[in-house]
Symmetry: C2
Subunit: 461 residues, 2 copies
């Protein structure tokens, strides 16, 4: 197609929106390893997961054979509040880079939660409501997930208790206020409200918290309170399933203009955005229909894919959750205090871990000052101030576009712009003031986390 005919922003019509989520696992030959009961080391059954997760979500979590799962009508209605999200042609960025590459990004930030997290939050709230629950508990790091969940719970009139990583709680006071607008309660983690919180505070009195620790607290509260369940914004199979709406929309939008990406780039913390963005493309790759180069980008200070172990590990610091097989830095791993770029989780989605292990995708790590440089460059050329998380993908997209400039190749790059940085300005301020530093953990630093990974036959090979 004539390149000048392609609009700056491709929007699908409402009647072109996906009506089903796509479950990548159905097309995986090597399925992601099942969650294990940490006591018995046996795969967890639905009835064991039911006290923690909503019934319908347990089904989705365990279903690795159904390729398409219908999106309930009520969720599709809510999606119309802020979707379709556009696929944007980054013409201003291309021009500023002087690259022959064609750069597209799927922008998920145009909703008040500020990110793609709302796609799964509304689904999880819907199933909780359908089950007749009173409320849900969760953890949040940067606050994107907590905000999204508070919006979703407000919509379905559910109680919402959020445990927020302490360092983010302090750095992002305004996120609290947004959650409050939607009626959620927000507690800095670790807190003295839970047994596990008290234990962690005793062991590490000055800790600024971690996602793994906030998860432990939220799970404890959910299991100890009648009518509550725990919900999680990333890592899980169910979350990647819901997030497939990103990739399905992106692919449909590109297909309208006969555009095929050569390279697909996503930032990776727990894998929710990456797994969602790549889903239908990875499906084609798994079925041998098409090939794409797929790149996961993670922070050098929290390098689960690039330097982690592929092993069964706890998803939480308190070690009360099931074991998941994944690339992990150990559930006790906490990124260095100077880390401001998000994507702080110590592990990674089991499905993505398996795909990476099987060679279906690449991973690379980037340092945070170079991430913020890319973020500012992007803001100035494309207008939108990106979330630091998203800026990891921007960094890699720019690097690939510069390579194209050197080789003269006209590659088509698609990346995920997961959210906006309006609540990340403390981090931007550090960058502008020149007080942001990079820290790459040493092998000895990492060993501390690895030592906590459960030892049993076959683990940590």
């Amino acid at each position: 197609m004539d390149d000048s005919k392609i609009p700056y922003k491709i929007y699908l019509e409402e009647n072109e929106l996906p009506t089903s989520w796509y479950n990548m696992r159905a097309d995986m030959k090597n399925k992601p390893a099942p969650l294990l009961n940490p006591g018995t080391l046996q795969p967890l059954k639905a009835e064991e997961l039911a006290p923690i997760f909503c019934e319908e979500l347990v089904k989705q979590e365990l279903d690795d054979t159904t390729a398409f799962i219908e999106i309930p009508e009520e969720i599709r209605k809510f999606y119309k509040m802020y979707r379709p999200s556009p696929v944007v042609r980054a013409r201003f960025l291309e021009k500023a880079l002087g690259t022959p590459a064609k750069i597209y990004y799927k922008f998920e930030g145009n909703n008040t939660s500020g990110s793609h997290k709302l796609n799964s939050a509304i689904a999880q709230a819907y199933y909780a409501k359908k089950q007749g629950l009173k409320g849900v508990t969760t953890e949040t790091g940067a606050g994107q997930w907590g905000t999204a969940l508070s919006m979703a719970c407000s919509f379905f009139d559910l109680d919402c208790k959020v445990y927020m990583v302490k360092v983010s709680y302090e750095q992002k006071p305004f996120r609290r206020e947004v959650m409050r607008t939607y009626g959620a309660s927000v507690t800095p983690s670790p807190s003295t409200e839970t047994e596990v919180g008290k234990k962690i505070l005793e062991a590490h009195p000055g800790t600024t918290g971690s996602l793994g620790c906030a998860i432990s607290e939220a799970v404890e509260v959910a299991t100890k309170n009648e009518g509550y369940r725990y919900v999680l914004g990333s890592v899980l199979n169910q979350v990647l399933l819901h997030q497939s709406v990103i990739g399905l929309e992106a692919k449909a939008a590109l297909d309208k203009y006969d555009i095929t990406p050569d390279i697909i780039i996503g930032c990776a913390g727990g894998g929710s955005n990456l797994g969602g963005l790549i889903a239908p493309f990875m499906g084609e790759k798994l079925r041998g229909e098409k090939d794409y180069r797929i790149i996961a980008v993670e922070p050098a200070s929290c390098p689960s894919f690039t330097r982690g172990k592929f092993a069964y590990d706890f998803c939480d610091t308190g070690m009360i959750c099931p074991l998941a097989k994944m690339y992990t830095l150990g559930s006790g791993f906490i990124p260095s205090a100077n880390h401001a770029g998000g994507l702080r989780f110590h592990g990674m989605s089991s499905a993505l871990s398996q795909l990476y292990h099987d060679g279906y995708m690449e991973a690379r790590s980037v340092e945070q000052t170079s991430v913020f440089e890319a973020a500012e460059f992007f803001a100035r050329t494309e207008g939108t101030l990106p979330a630091p998380e998203s800026a990891h993908a921007i960094r890699a997209a720019i690097d690939e576009a510069i390579k194209c400039k050197e080789t003269g190749e006209e590659k088509t790059i698609l990346f995920g712009l997961t959210g906006t940085g309006y609540f990340d300005l403390v981090a931007y301020e550090k960058f502008h003031d020149g007080v942001m530093s990079d820290y790459i953990p040493t092998d000895a630093d990492l060993q501390v986390g690895f030592d906590g990974i459960p030892k049993f036959p076959g683990n940590m090979d």
Copy 2:
């Protein structure tokens, strides 16, 4: 048209975007009164305005006969970065209210400046660049305009000096950081950097500033520095011209589905959003082709339309700017310190003032706690956290929709959702904490401002 066929969000295609701005003044029988030289009380000529404003903008300011002015190609390209903005059918809000009214809003908040202000900022920066200037100066209140201008200046590589009302500078530290991301310098006003700032600080040592005062400082700096001009984000004819893109897009989107609004509602501070939103509708009304009910909504604590005088007055506190005929509270008027809802300017666009004076539109004032109630209700039902400014229009739209519920009338309401409230969370916090209060100025309070309005024959009749 079958109501269920109307999508939640109506987006125009890129080739349906307006190619010209619409100049409402061309269709006004009673033209807005000209700006006066405060020394001679004679209408200002182009050559007198040239030291303050860019040449092309002076032309636009004075042109009250050309109905359509072409949008330069480079501005249209930039518009594609964040436009078209959607017309959204507020189905969730309608349902929550149980109203038979059909509510639509034109949403201008999906860009990093967070509001409609970018529409004029990019135009003004373009003309400054075209004239070969080094940079521009401006004032900003809540920071929306300053952010928009910093984005626009960054795009055209112009220097950008922003004087920010001190109370906002302190309440909205993150706005500064966004402006800094785009390379602007930001100074709290009143400052000791200017003669007028020093004078104001001497007279009112503890002042938290006002827009009028920040304007005085920005104008002084522009006129004293070679290669600089002053730009303004509201009030002026040129700004309303650029903002007509809002109304033109909204009308085109509604026309696609044969929707005709009965009531059009906009918040009003200086009039930039209101004037832009209503432009093409008012054009039809002025030409006698159609009738619409048009409502301006302003804060009870800064009630220029509803309680001001229609008189020639200064646009700035330092009384160094030209005189504009408008509804004004006096250039010395400063809203009470508890006012957190924006729309703080003491005057109003001359064109809108004339239209209001001639009975083409209504105005009403609303108290801020009721504005924040409406804002929170809207956030919970429609998802988007609105700017307090925009929430004035939401308040009135909800009130009209409730009236429809009482009478059973199926009126169609269109309002302007000018921006998002992501940088207004200090105000939301006050509202949530129950420490936000309302203050309606007494007649004696207002008299202080009125006393400062210039006295000459025919003024303040």
